[in-house]
């Protein structure tokens, strides 16, 4: 048997997304919010002054929730002298749009037409919240369409993404998957789920017009700007599921969302990049569609809501990414439990490749020792090939 040579993180990730067997099972993290950052920076694993000096010299991003500085801290000591030796192979960063102002509300809106708030609770930890759709009437949507010029993406923000990605890859051997929001989130964050369902049923051409407007105004231009920066892996967030199934009728997903998602995939593949979709919830119903449009990997996959073994057997073309329960197991169990869990999990889901484990979503209030145990476990037990 030929011994597999040690791969770089990029080789390892691309190998898995190509459906081949890497040197070991790679790992992934989406990021963490301020609550997790607070816990981490008050734990024994926190970034030291020496760490900070190196990270700043290397121009690593400290932005939350992507937490690249903390992700780098998980590196082995031959990469980062103060590293935790619990290597993370891939993380994420994504671009939002700007703000718009409209006549029907005093509130400043996100580019999708959504309202938002930043809240500092009594414990002094900040939180960013999506607070609901603002385009609740047809005439509001039509006024939104008049904001076309203000909704255009800013090229400078995409150039910055490229710097972030290159820094992490060259200095820390970490792949940064990059992307934009998907067509469903862009639509429902602005008009709301109820309007999506109502228009899909009663005025499908109006809904299609809105989806096309967002595609032409900022989704396609953003994808062009993103692909100009030549990312290796594109990962777009677009939550289709809830715990028991899709947030919409699958016919509506296929009619309104799938064609646009297929365009996203095409943009990535035309530039020789891999395409990964992040979608929370139970999304098994549309896995065959993901295969059809050529998606390389699906991320999130809370194990209680998804039949992961079935996905692995039935859809070997698609790599499973995430899939480690962060809402209960990583929050409440012990580091020892988590190490044992990931050892067995890798044996089951990773034995034929196609698996990049990690927390299913942004880290929130999980104990840092559990997160270190998870990534150390993936590093230690991932050598199964």
């Amino acid at each position: 048997m030929t011994k597999v040579q040690k791969m770089s993180a990029l080789e390892r990730i691309i190998t898995v997304l190509d459906g081949k067997i890497p040197d070991r099972v790679p790992s992934f993290i989406l990021g963490g919010d301020c609550d997790f950052v607070y816990r981490f920076m008050n734990s024994p694993y926190k970034l030291t002054e020496e760490d900070m000096k190196q990270l700043e010299d290397d121009k690593v991003s400290f932005m939350i929730p992507f937490i690249h500085a903390i992700v780098a801290k998980f590196s082995p000591s031959d990469i980062f002298s103060g590293g935790l030796d619990a290597k993370i192979d891939m993380c994420w960063s994504t671009m939002g749009g700007g703000f718009i102002q409209v006549s029907f509300t005093e509130q400043v809106l996100l580019n999708t037409g959504a309202t938002f708030d930043v809240v500092v609770k009594e414990d002094g930890i900040p939180h960013n919240w999506f607070t609901g759709p603002a385009l609740l009437k047809k005439e509001y949507i039509e006024e939104y369409w008049e904001k076309e010029k203000e909704l255009k993406p800013n090229p400078a923000t995409f150039r910055n993404l490229s710097k972030i990605r290159k820094t992490m890859l060259e200095k820390y051997d970490i792949v940064v998957s990059q992307g934009i929001a998907g067509p469903f989130e862009n639509c429902v964050f602005g008009i709301g789920h109820a309007n999506f369902a109502r228009f899909a049923r009663k005025e499908p051409s109006f809904l299609q017009q809105h989806i096309d407007f967002q595609w032409e105004t900022f989704e396609e231009p953003s994808l062009k700007l993103l692909m100009n920066q030549k990312p290796d892996v594109v990962m777009c967030g677009d939550d289709y599921g809830f715990n028991a199934g899709l947030q919409m009728n699958v016919k509506n997903w296929r009619k309104f969302i799938k064609p646009k998602l297929a365009e996203y995939v095409k943009y990535a593949h035309d530039a020789d990049a891999k395409f990964v979709i992040h979608s929370c919830g139970n999304i098994g119903e549309i896995f065959p569609d993901f295969v059809e449009i050529g998606i390389d990997g699906v991320e999130s996959l809370k194990p209680k809501n998804n039949e992961l073994r079935m996905y692995r057997e039935k859809y070997p073309e698609i790599a499973l990414i995430g899939a480690v329960d962060d809402s209960e197991m990583l929050k409440y169990e012990s580091p020892e439990f988590i190490r044992n869990y990931i050892r067995e999990d890798i044996q089951i889901l990773g034995k034929k490749g196609g698996y990049i484990p990690g927390p299913t979503n942004f880290l929130l209030d999980q104990p840092p020792e559990n997160i270190v145990a998870l990534f150390k476990g993936i590093q230690d037990y991932g050598k199964i090939y």
């Binding site: 607070y38 920076m41 500085a69 102002q101 005093e106 930043v118 609770k121 960013n128």
Partner: protein
Amino acid sequence: MCAKFRGIPAIIYSSLWRRQIFGKLEKDFPEKTKFAVYITDQPPAVLIKINNGNFEMEKLEEVKEISEIENIDCDGYFVAPQSYAFGGPVALQKGIKEGKVKMKNEAIIFSILLRIMT
């Protein structure tokens, strides 16, 4: 829900908090600074003190009118409705002409706000 701060004051707090938790606040704000921000459609005004790698933000419940911000002991202040604050340089210039945007020590305030928002 009980919140200490919301809206633009919370955005400012969030930016300073991120620098503080990562130990970068003193480098980014080496000078001792005390400034007030009053988003007129998101009261109350707040007073922000930055010193030696730490910051404090307190509500100024006593400020009810724009003119009352003059009574606050600070190095500078920024007063604007939310829409003008988010609107960029053009909106700010418009707001200054209309008397809806007011600043004390513009150079200091702009320098601080620019660092906070980047």
